[in-house]
Amino acid sequence: MAEHDRPDLIERHGRQERLQHWVVALLFLLAAASGMALFHPALFWLAAVLGGGTWSVILHPFVGLAMALVFARFAAPQWGDNRLLPNDRVWLERLREVIEGRDEHLPEVGKYNAGQKVLYFVMVACVAVLALTGLAIWRRYFAGGLPVGVVRAAALLHALAAFVLVLGAVVHVAAALWVKGAVGAMTRGTVTIGWAWKHHRAWFRQMIRPTGGR
């Protein structure tokens, strides 16, 4: 079901996956901006993104929940591709080479490299924690019914998970901008065969099999 008919391209992300990805990205930016505005006074100006402090407080939980739901639909089918394999260990041990951009010293990579896989599970965990703790500190509906100790712990955990997720997103965006062709994979849906060969060789081999991938 390729959306293209060029032999030098390989499909990496389908139409629905791409849509989901960018909806999550947009909702993440809105949730992170309105949330971080409350986290540190130096970032309070970010509340303007959703129309000020009060609007941020009103909208943030709904935006966050929407993000969590779309993220769940987006991430669930990718679980299998992100399973950690023995080679991933080697990849992670050679992180130095990754940062230096010396791919020739790295083991062959499937659809996702070990860094992407770890980030995937970190993000899944963070979103789950954010959703649970976010409900717990939602003053309008739930926080009043919980012991104050639970609300305090949830607030701290919510901030912690948000911190890790934002940090993860920074790494994610930096990597996507660094590796040319990656953004195209999520906008056009395709990569060149050279790109697949260079960055995800095991996946490349799988995709060029006459049977056409999986």
């Binding site: 030098d8 409350l38 040319k180």
Partner: protein, 301 residues
């Protein structure tokens, strides 16, 4: 509401100094509530409603004198009644006027994320400026005394102001003005500590060995203090906290975590950018495409 006649020394979610050019010599004020003189008449509750234009819903009787049963956005002070059977087998009726304690180290202000929504005046009063309140409810989580309440009407936080508007023009709080037994007094904190000490000597001489002043050090002392007949057991007074303090969880959340997290995020972004320009973009060159092409042909060949 902001009162220019009261100097602000601390504002929530603000990293720059508060206005401090004026040199008014402001002394710490306080309210002293002598539980041993309180008769539970609730005149103070009524005065609070009247002065602050508050009208709570008429509730139902829960089998106790507590009415309303809890603090609300419309009830900034509530009398809490408890029946205590002392070791001698006598019944004691312990009545405590509950409300904001006006902590010297207020957990509400520490937790509040909205700049200037919670302030502390130079005289020690902690005040909510509702026009800056964004309704997140963090003050509720921050307060060690479970005092702030979010209004269902406007989603903003309310609590006792210690009648900052009256104090600013030299009047005593409405509850103090109305108390018929003199159980509530208002003055400088120093004077009231002195008055309390005298009263405690008196109480001790009348058999209340453990009488004492409640001015908990865990929150830096409070600007609402109690004289208790049983200062060794504050919990007898409808769960008055024995050793209140701003929760360590709140301290971490609104303390060290903030600069550390922000710093780490900024560092990650800068490191990513620097590595990009240091190593250069990872590009796929024609040789890679050619290699891929060869391998593909072989696979199909």
């Amino acid at each position: 509401m902001p009162l220019q006649s009261l100097d602000i020394v601390r504002r929530s979610a603000t990293t720059t100094p508060s206005p401090m050019a004026r040199a008014a010599a402001e002394v710490a004020v306080a309210k002293l509530i002598d539980t041993s003189k309180c008769i539970g008449c609730k005149a103070c509750q009524t005065a609070c409603m009247e002065w602050n234009d508050l009208r709570d819903e008429v509730g139902s009787c829960a089998g106790t004198y507590d009415n309303p049963r809890d603090l609300t956005d419309q009830s900034w002070t509530v009398m809490r009644f408890s029946e205590y059977e002392n070791p001698k087998g006598d019944l004691e009726w312990l009545i405590r006027k509950d409300g904001c304690m006006h902590c010297a180290d207020p957990g509400c202000l520490k937790a509040c994320p909205s700049p200037g929504a919670i302030v502390q005046y130079a005289n020690g009063i902690v005040d909510f400026h509702e026009e800056h309140c964004i309704g997140c409810g963090y003050c509720v989580a921050g307060c060690p005394f479970d005092v702030p309440r979010i209004s269902k009407k406007d989603g903003k936080a309310y609590k006792c102001t210690l009648c900052s508007d009256r104090v600013a023009v030299g009047l005593e709080p409405a509850c103090v003005k109305t108390c018929p037994t003199g159980a509530i007094t208002f003055g400088t904190k120093e004077q009231l500590q002195h008055d309390a000490a005298e009263r405690i000597v008196d109480l001790k001489s009348r058999g209340y060995e453990q009488a004492g002043l409640y001015d908990p050090a865990g929150v830096g002392g409070t600007h609402v203090m109690y004289v208790l007949h049983h200062a060794d057991q504050p919990a007898l007074y409808s769960g008055l906290p024995v050793a209140p303090r701003v929760s360590p969880v709140v301290r971490l959340w609104k303390g060290a975590a903030k600069p550390l997290a922000l710093g780490a995020i900024a560092l990650a972004a800068i490191a990513g950018l620097l590595n990009y320009v240091r190593v250069g973009a990872k590009e796929v060159d024609p040789a890679d495409e050619a290699a891929a092409e060869r391998e593909k042909e072989k696979a199909h060949g």
